[in-house]
Structures are given as structure tokens and as C-alpha cells.
């Protein structure tokens, strides 16, 4: 034994102590989850600058690599794209026609989207949950920049998720495609309520499950789903995505469908946070 007495402790005893410690910690975090927040805050305040640094380096490297892409590849792509432009111009014309028609109809139905201008803050995605099971990510703004728990996160004009934890210089966001995510949505055209529930099995197809659509709801593929007025945390009227594959449940009471989100979660680098919390529902009826 060349290393002092340290090695003489039986690993078995240490194991037992550590297992007990873990179980205690699990119990404590179940019971008093909120009390542990300061600890998390402290640790993540230290680690975040490191992650930011790594992120900068990574971006630099990947930018450099992109520059090396061969000219041939680009030429080929150019030819393909030109072809595509032709097709798209034609399609665009058709769509424009549809749009005029749609505008007219919308006016008729007074279904203008209710995008009120919320105050927003931009943030950068700096890290992702360290395992592959969830879609939780960290952004580089925190309470220091006025963020709070339950603020809505959007990108482009679609819903990304919600802040589940705001630390001093970073916040953790749970995206709507996450397996644990749950949002009450609403069909823009018919105001039917539905529940948008993330599902890991559908993540690859870039889809989210939509449940509990009323049996009588007159909804069809391609309808827009926005956040609903009954949701406690999400502001009303943020676009979530488009519906498809509507099916009647075996129970014959509700319908289930899939939803394609408007946000590209694969390439999420910058997001906007609505720095206004939704007011509690207490006062409202319905």
C-alpha cells in the first residue's frame, strides 16, 4: 500500500454512505425542490461562461470548415436551385392567388391574428441537455437581463417553449417538442381547444402529438394551431404549427392528430423571449 491509510477504507462502506446520501438527496429534492434552487443557480453561474466560450470556439471552427466547401459543390447546388426557383415562382403565383382569396375570407370572418406586440429580448442557445432524451436547452440570458420563470420563448414567429428555470446569467428552456411538454392550443379558425403534447417518438418526424380535440370540431389538415386563451402560462395567439393526420380516437369522444411546428428545432441558435408574463387566470371567466 503505497498510498497512506486512505486506501484502507473499504469501498463497500463508502458505497453504502453514498447510496444513502443519494436517496436522501432524492427525497429532499422531491419534498423541498424549491429550496435547492440557490445551489443550482450558483453552480450554473460558474459553468455558463465556460459553455459560452466553448460555443464561440465551436462556431469559429464550423464557420471555417464551411468555407472550405468545394466550389464544385456550390455550382451543382446553384444549378439545382435555379431549377427550383422556376418551380417555386410558378407555385408562388398560385399561392398568391390563394392568399388574396384567403385575405378576403379572413376579413369576412374577422379572424385576424391577435399578435399583440409583446416586449421581446433576444438570446443565444448555448447548451443542450447533456443527454439525448430531452429537448431542454440553455440560453445565455438570465434574471440579470430581466428574464423570469414561465416566460414564453419564440423564434421567427412560432412558439419554441417556456423558461422552466431562470438563473443569474442563464435560463433553461423546455421546448414544446420535449417529451414532458404540454401546451393547450386552439385552432385559429374554429377556436376549438386541443392539447399539444411533446413526444420523443415523433421528434424525428418533426411532429408533435395533439390530443383531446372535441369530436365535433370541424378541423381539417393544414389548419393553424395557436396557443389558447385558457393556457395559464402561454400568451394567447402565438403560432405553434399546422395540423395533419386527424383521427377519431377509439373512445369515439375525441380526436387525435399530429402537428408540424413552424420552428425548426434542429437548427435553433437564437430565440426571442417575451419578457411579459401572462397574467394569472383568476379574474377571467371561461
Amino acid at each position: 500500500m503505497r498510498r497512506r491509510t486512505k486506501l484502507n477504507i473499504n469501498p463497500k462502506h463508502v458505497l453504502i454512505v453514498c447510496v444513502l446520501l443519494c436517496i436522501l438527496l432524492i427525497a429532499v429534492s422531491f419534498r423541498f425542490g424549491d429550496k435547492l434552487l440557490p445551489v443550482r443557480n450558483a453552480v450554473s453561474t460558474v459553468i455558463t461562461p465556460m459553455q459560452k466560450g466553448i460555443n464561440v470556439v465551436g462556431t469559429l471552427i464550423s464557420d471555417q470548415l464551411d468555407n472550405f466547401r468545394s466550389v464544385n459543390e456550390l455550382l451543382e447546388e446553384n444549378a439545382k436551385l435555379k431549377e427550383k426557383v422556376d418551380i417555386l415562382t410558378y407555385q408562388n403565383k398560385l399561392l398568391l392567388q390563394d392568399k388574396y382569396e384567403l385575405d378576403g375570407l379572413r376579413e369576412l370572418f374577422e379572424l385576424d391574428k391577435k399578435y399583440i406586440d409583446y416586449p421581446k429580448v433576444a438570446a443565444r442557445v448555448i447548451s443542450k441537455d447533456s443527454n439525448n432524451w430531452y429537448s431542454v436547452f440553455t440560453i445565455d440570458k438570465g434574471t440579470k437581463d430581466g428574464l423570469e420563470k414561465n416566460m414564453n420563448v419564440i423564434a421567427g414567429n412560432g412558439l419554441v417553449g417556456i423558461i422552466v428555470e431562470a438563473n443569474y446569467n442563464n435560463s433553461i428552456v423546455r421546448s414544446i417538442i420535449d417529451d414532458k411538454s404540454f401546451v393547450t392550443g386552439m385552432f385559429l379558425k374554429t377556436s376549438d381547444i386541443c392539447y399539444v403534447k411533446g413526444d420523443l417518438e415523433l421528434m424525428d418526424e418533426n411532429k408533435i402529438r395533439v390530443e383531446l380535440i372535441g369530436k365535433d370540431a370541424q378541423v381539417y389538415d393544414g389548419y393553424e394551431v395557436v396557443t389558447s386563451h385558457i393556457s395559464p402560462n402561454y400568451h394567447q395567439g402565438i403560432l405553434i404549427g399546422y395540423i395533419s393526420d386527424i383521427k377519431l380516437d377509439p373512445s369515439n369522444m375525441t380526436k387525435t392528430a399530429y402537428l408540424t411546428p413552424v420552428v425548426d428545432f434542429e437548427r435553433l441558435e437564437e430565440v426571442l423571449i417575451i419578457t411579459e408574463l401572462k397574467e394569472p387566470l383568476d379574474g377571467q371567466e371561461d
Binding site: C18, I23, I26, Q51, K128, N131
Partner: protein, 168 residues
Amino acid sequence: MIRILVYLIEIIVCFVLQSSMFHYISLVNVMPNLLIILVVSHAYMRGRMTGLLMGFFSGLLVDIFYGNIIGLYALIFMLIGYVMGYVNKVYSPDDYTFPIFMVAISSFLYDFFYYVFEFLLRGRLNFVYYLRRIMLPEILYTVLVSVFLYKLLHMINKKLDQKSDKGA
């Protein structure tokens, strides 16, 4: 003392890399599990005690940073570290294939427990899907990375051994 410091740095570096380089190193949307490589390599090189403590602390870091329940990852990592520490009895400095095999097994165990705790308990029963979509790619990728990472860790360990021999 130096050894403990080096271990701490290793844990933090692996964790930061794993959580921040996701844009650049993930294949088919899956990240290699660097921490499990770290824990298993040290358990294999140094025995149960090191595996145990290493697992406990890296698990705790993940817990504090991401988990909802503090202690769950720590427990999984720690048990894997401890069990893998038994393999230390057949440790040989020249063997580079055996630890990688061990990494594969541990990676599977970790994912399996993770599935049980976080998904099965919430009623997600489609095990085969998760196996195909997440576990297998993750294990393969982890094994691939461990081929290089183990060599590096082994080198660091050798240096540390030499140093403490001199000191003693």
C-alpha cells in the same frame, strides 16, 4: 491532491464539452456520453473507490445542472462506477479493447436505467423504439469516442502515477 484536482478538471471539461458542443459533434441527433467513459475508464484503471467517487461527483454535476431530481444521476453513475471497479482486478496497462467493451456495457446500463426511471414510470412502454432511436446510436457513438478518450485518460493516469511514485 494533484490527482483530485486533475479528476475535477476532467469531469468539468467532459461535462462542458458534452453539453455545449452539441451543434458540432452530434451525429444523427445523438451525443456521445463522455462522462460515462470518464467514470468507467477510471474505475477500470484505479478500482472501485475511484469509480465510485468519480461517478458520484459527475452524476451530481449533471443533476444540479439539468435533472429535476437531485441524486438520481449521481446514483446511477455511482453504481456503474462501483460495479465497473471490480474489473480493475484484471487491469492491464496494455489492454485497450477491454475497457471499451466495458464502456459499451455501462452505456447500455445507464440508458436502460434512465429509460426505466424517466420514461417507463411515465407510461411510455415502447422500449424497442427508444432502444433503436436513442440507446443503440448513443452506445455506438460513445464506444467510438472512448477508443480515443480512453487512450488520453490512460496517458494522464500514467503521468499521475509516475508523479506520485516520485513523491512517495
